[in-house]
């Protein structure tokens, strides 16, 4: 008989090896899926995972795209990971991302068409504040009324999507073009444009912000009491209280950080690659970032790698749609499988498979 046996200490090897193994298994399962869809599996996998970077034909377009897609994922995931470590489950980053974009765009549209160096920094603050504010709703409901933050943060995503639609059709709509929903294109408003900093690299302010956030989170989690308390609260809540950690304060901090970072991601997107407030503005970065956080082992450095990988699947997915007519949803399935495989593999981090001998009598 096979049974699981708890390890005395979690295996460090499997902690690091599992994400890579999960990617390999996902590729294999994905190949099967593509074969079932009638596509050549080898070509499809190549197209998604290698061509965006190494192909001569598409590389020049898609290489810069990699950072553009990965930066918001990393920015959001770093914040989420801090909360997840403390067992505080903000799964409504998508909503905070939308609110950040709306606040940032709101500042820009209010100043339009005035020039001024201060406009973009103001937008950054507003974006972070918008995400923060939206995350404070589940935080305060949790601390004041003990309401489940998972459900509230998630339900608020749908509310944020409705607000986004209302804005795109109403207050923020571009008054110069009648009949079309959507705001002015911020890329055409120099003072508000989150432009590429180095040509053809895809590096914009959002990438810089993601890098800063990663370093900041790394230092906080490994060297600062706050990071220690976050981990303590996640692993042993009673021990955290004994250590003097206030659970309410931690909820506010964790949700605040992740909300602000998601808001920033939304703001950098709307003022750069996205360009305008539209109904279809939100494309699920907030949810994909959950996968990024887990795949990166809730570790800032791991999140960078995981964010790049999932950014790659976005670009590869687009290529696949264009060239192989792969369905767009295939990428979503891909990302879901990745998380499944990772979770499934993780049992070997904490448990050991053992063949137990039969009873001898």
């Amino acid at each position: 008989m096979i049974r699981l046996e708890k390890r005395k200490e979690p295996s460090k090897f499997w902690r690091i090896a599992n994400p890579f193994l999960a990617v390999v298994l996902t590729m294999l399962a994905g190949a099967v899926m593509f074969a079932m869809l009638g596509k050549d599996p080898v070509v499809a996998i190549r197209l998604i995972f290698f061509d965006p970077i190494f192909s001569d034909t598409f590389g020049s377009y898609s290489r810069p795209q990699l950072l553009i897609k990965s930066a918001p994922l990393i920015l959001i995931a770093v914040g989420l990971a801090v909360g997840f470590k403390a067992n505080i489950w903000n799964i409504g980053a998508e909503g905070q991302y939308i609110m950040g974009a709306l606040f940032g765009a709101g500042v820009a549209l209010a100043f339009f068409p005035a020039p001024g160096w201060y406009i973009f920094p103001l937008m950054v603050l507003a974006g972070a504040f918008g995400g923060f504010l939206w995350a404070m709703i589940p935080a305060i409901l949790k601390t004041r009324f003990n309401t489940n933050e998972i459900l509230v943060s998630l339900l608020l995503v749908y509310v944020a999507e409705k607000i986004l639609a209302a804005m795109a059709l109403g207050v923020m709509r571009n008054p110069d073009i009648a009949g079309f929903p959507g705001s002015r294109d911020l890329r055409r408003y120099e003072a508000a444009h989150n432009a590429e900093l180095f040509a053809n690299t895809g590096i914009h302010w959002g990438v810089v912000a993601a890098l800063i956030a990663v370093i900041f989170a790394y230092v906080m989690m490994t060297r600062h009491m706050l990071g220690f308390h976050v981990q303590l609260a996640g692993q042993a809540p009673r021990a955290a209280r004994f250590a003097g950690v206030s659970p309410a304060r931690l909820v506010v901090i964790c949700l605040g950080i992740s909300g602000a970072l998601a808001g920033l991601a939304g703001m950098f997107e709307v003022s750069g690659p996205g360009g305008q407030v539209r109904i279809e503005f939100a494309t699920g970065y907030g949810f994909t970032a959950i996968i990024v956080a887990f795949l990166g082992r809730l570790n800032p450095i791991g999140i960078v790698l995981a964010g790049l990988l999932l950014g790659l699947t976005y670009i590869g997915g687009e290529l696949g749609q264009m060239i192989l007519q792969l369905p767009g949803a295939a990428i979503q399935v891909f990302q879901g499988m990745l998380l499944f495989f990772l979770l499934a593999l993780d049992f070997q981090t904490n448990y050991r498979l053992r063949l137990s001998k039969g009873v001898r009598t």
Binding site: Q235, A236, R238
Partner: protein, 508 residues
């Protein structure tokens, strides 16, 4: 010798890294009161789990009524007349008494009939119970009655009782013994697990002693002294802790008429608690589990905030302060639950050293942790308190109960406190570690700190306390000098036998 009921032959069970039972053989006669005696970790629990079908032996065999007996699951054991009352009750708070009883039976009658049978049996054996009450609302003693009644309804031939008296007052213990003697007289054998020697000498007619998973002796406990039994059990000669005589000092901790609601829906609120603790004094607080001990510790450690002036540390009101504020002023605590409360199981000993010591030991500057300093602090604790572990990088949950407890208490003592509060300092700890811990607490008192020990182990309290009080349903009795107190007196302070006297008189 009575007719044998259960015979064990060479039972062996190994877990990775530890042999829990090694070639254990003995016999239990019909209607016999058989004690299974041993320290924590001696293998008592594993052995009875094999008899009850929860664990399969690796080797060896059992015979019940002379026939081979190898229960694959508890229901099979129950069908064969083996019943068990667990140490940590197998009860369900949100279900009522009748449902709890039904869950432990093979073929329970409809709930309405069952309720009547529960009333009948509980009256017959002097164990009053209301079948309709939610188990979560019962006291520890009442919960034990649910377990016992559950077993009795199945007419067991063998009743296994795992440390049954740890949740009872001395008077309740007497009544339990009456019930057990009555059962034994009716022909039910009882396998009685304990590490309390006096109890076994009072109750049992045969004892099997385990040490390190092996049987060291089977004897008649009434013919041995408690000391002889203890040395068989521990395998070494024990010396009682020394205590330097000391004069009474100034008041360091004062709690004044404090009432506080529990933070747990099934917890016990504190009611009008008052006491004072002086420099160099060891104050022991007794009580049956669930009478407010957890709440008292949380209130004193600062995890459960109290009205400011009701708690005074060296004359300063500290009720409003959290754990860190109180630590800075010199009050430290060590909660009962080592894994998960006093220490984080999945963190290293270094991180666990940081847990309560960060401020008082200056292990972090502007919030930034000095890991090197923290690690050397952890090493100090390990060295000074003889914590057996490969090093400070080891996870807390990898340590044995006794070693982790030495680490936790050591950590608090190293903070050089003026007042230390400990709850169940030697619960589930082997005798050698328990002696080390008690000595360390006495040494601390000798240096002038006030020591408050909350414990359910009366022997321990009588051994180390200068003064004595008891918690009973969230109320604290007046403090009395420990010298000259009898176990009877203490039992009455703990609330006597509650409603059980009445029941027994009625059935007698």
């Amino acid at each position: 010798m009575r007719a044998p009921l259960l015979r064990l032959d060479g039972l062996t069970k190994a877990y990775p890294g530890v042999v829990a039972n090694d070639d254990v053989s003995f016999e239990i006669g019909e209607g016999q009161m058989h004690a299974l005696l041993g320290e924590n970790g001696a293998g008592k629990s594993t052995l009875v789990k094999m008899i009850y079908g929860l664990v399969k032996p690796d080797k060896g065999r059992m015979h019940l009524h002379g026939k081979p007996f190898a229960p694959a699951k508890p229901s099979e054991a129950r069908r064969n007349g083996v019943a068990m009352v667990f140490q940590h009750f197998s009860l369900f708070d949100a279900l009522d008494v009748a449902e709890n009883v039904a869950l432990g039976m093979e073929n329970p009658p409809p709930l309405r009939d069952l309720a009547q049978r529960i009333r009948d049996v509980s009256e017959e054996y002097g164990l009053p119970l209301d079948p309709a009450r939610l188990v979560g609302e019962l006291s520890a003693g009442e919960r034990q009655r649910v377990e016992i009644v559950r077993c009795l309804l199945q007419d067991p031939k063998l009743l296994i009782m795992d440390e049954p008296t740890s949740v009872l007052t001395p008077q309740e213990v007497d009544i339990l013994f009456l019930t057990l003697r009555k059962l034994s007289a009716e022909g039910t054998a009882i396998l009685y697990i304990s590490h309390k020697l006096e109890e076994i000498r009072a109750l049992c007619d045969e004892a099997t002693i385990l040490r390190g998973g092996r049987k060291v002796a089977t004897c008649d406990p009434r013919e041995k002294s408690a000391r002889e039994l203890a040395e068989l059990m521990v395998g070494q000669v024990l010396t009682p802790p020394e205590r330097p005589a000391k004069p009474k000092g100034d008041v360091v901790l004062q709690v004044d008429n404090l009432s506080l609601a529990s933070n747990n829906p099934f917890g016990t609120s504190l009611k009008n608690v008052s006491f004072t603790l002086r420099k160099g004094e060891v104050l022991g607080i007794a009580g049956v589990a669930g009478n407010g001990q957890d709440e008292l510790l949380l209130m004193l450690s600062g995890e459960l905030p109290a009205p400011s002036v009701r708690v005074q540390l060296k004359g300063k009101p500290v009720g409003h302060l959290g754990p860190n504020g109180r630590r800075l002023l010199g009050l430290v605590a060590a909660p009962e639950e080592r894994l998960g409360h006093a220490a984080a199981p999945d963190m290293s000993l270094t991180a666990n050293a940081l847990l309560s010591a960060s401020r008082r030991k200056g292990l972090a500057k502007h919030g930034f942790i000095d890991w090197r300093k923290t690690e050397s602090f952890a090493r100090d604790i390990i060295a000074r308190f003889d914590v057996r572990t490969p090093g400070p990088h080891v996870l807390a949950r990898a340590l044995s109960g006794g070693n982790l407890q030495k680490f936790v208490i050591g950590r608090e003592i190293e903070l050089d406190p003026d007042v230390i509060i400990v709850n169940q300092p030697t619960w589930g700890v082997d005798a050698a570690a328990a002696a080390t811990i008690r000595q360390a607490l006495l040494d601390l008192a000798g240096k002038g700190a006030g020591v408050l020990v909350i414990s359910q182990d009366l022997d321990e309290l009588l051994e180390i306390s200068d003064s004595f009080a008891a918690l009973n349903e969230g109320r604290l009795t007046d403090t009395r000098p420990a010298k000259g107190l009898s176990v009877e007196d203490i039992g009455l302070m703990m609330g006597g036998a509650g409603d059980m006297h009445v029941a027994h008189e009625a059935s007698a």
